[in-house]
Symmetry: C2
Subunit: 107 residues, 2 copies
């Protein structure tokens, strides 16, 4: 395989969007139901401006979309397939010292 800087940067940027505890939580939360910014803010106890910026990162990555109704903005997950990855993350965590059931064995 050859390393194409641009190809992998494009993909890494999408992954990076999920690579933050708050944004990861939002992805899981929004997979259950849509939420407005103020609801999400209450859930994580951060400044609303911080929450808004996290949401714009997810939106720019194409992972969530938003819908303005009244003066509230509702976000929802656009890509439930990202949840597939989380199963693997759980496997990594639960089997850090043992064999990974979903994965190849590696001492």
């Amino acid at each position: 395989m050859t390393y194409s800087q641009q190809h992998f940067t494009e993909r890494a940027n999408i992954i990076k969007a999920v690579a933050h505890p708050v944004r990861l939580f939002f992805v899981e939360e929004l997979s259950q139901q849509e939420r407005c910014v103020c609801e999400l803010t209450a859930l994580v106890s951060l400044d609303i401006s911080t929450v808004s910026k996290h949401l714009s990162v997810l939106k720019n990555a194409g992972l969530v979309c938003d819908d303005k109704r009244g003066n509230q903005v509702f976000y929802r997950l656009r890509t439930p397939c990202v949840l597939n990855f989380l199963n693997c993350v759980e496997a990594v965590i639960n089997n850090s010292d043992a064999e990974l059931t979903c994965c190849t064995t590696c001492k």
Copy 2:
């Protein structure tokens, strides 16, 4: 859902390991075959110390493991399930303006 800082930080750290173009490339490359550090270095044209640090990030995250033979260190992917995620990343990229075939529709 409630936001547990520690829970999501632990998971985000694993995702963060893959959220870099060079490390993402290594994950894909190592899914095909094991490689020593000098081979990977040649593929990405970075200083070998930089490559070594990227590999240690992947290793600390539990995603790859290494095997020293002679004076070479061979790395290989420990968790092929991370590749599942890449399919979703492709879907996000190919359908940024249209509906995601694997995902919910979202204007």
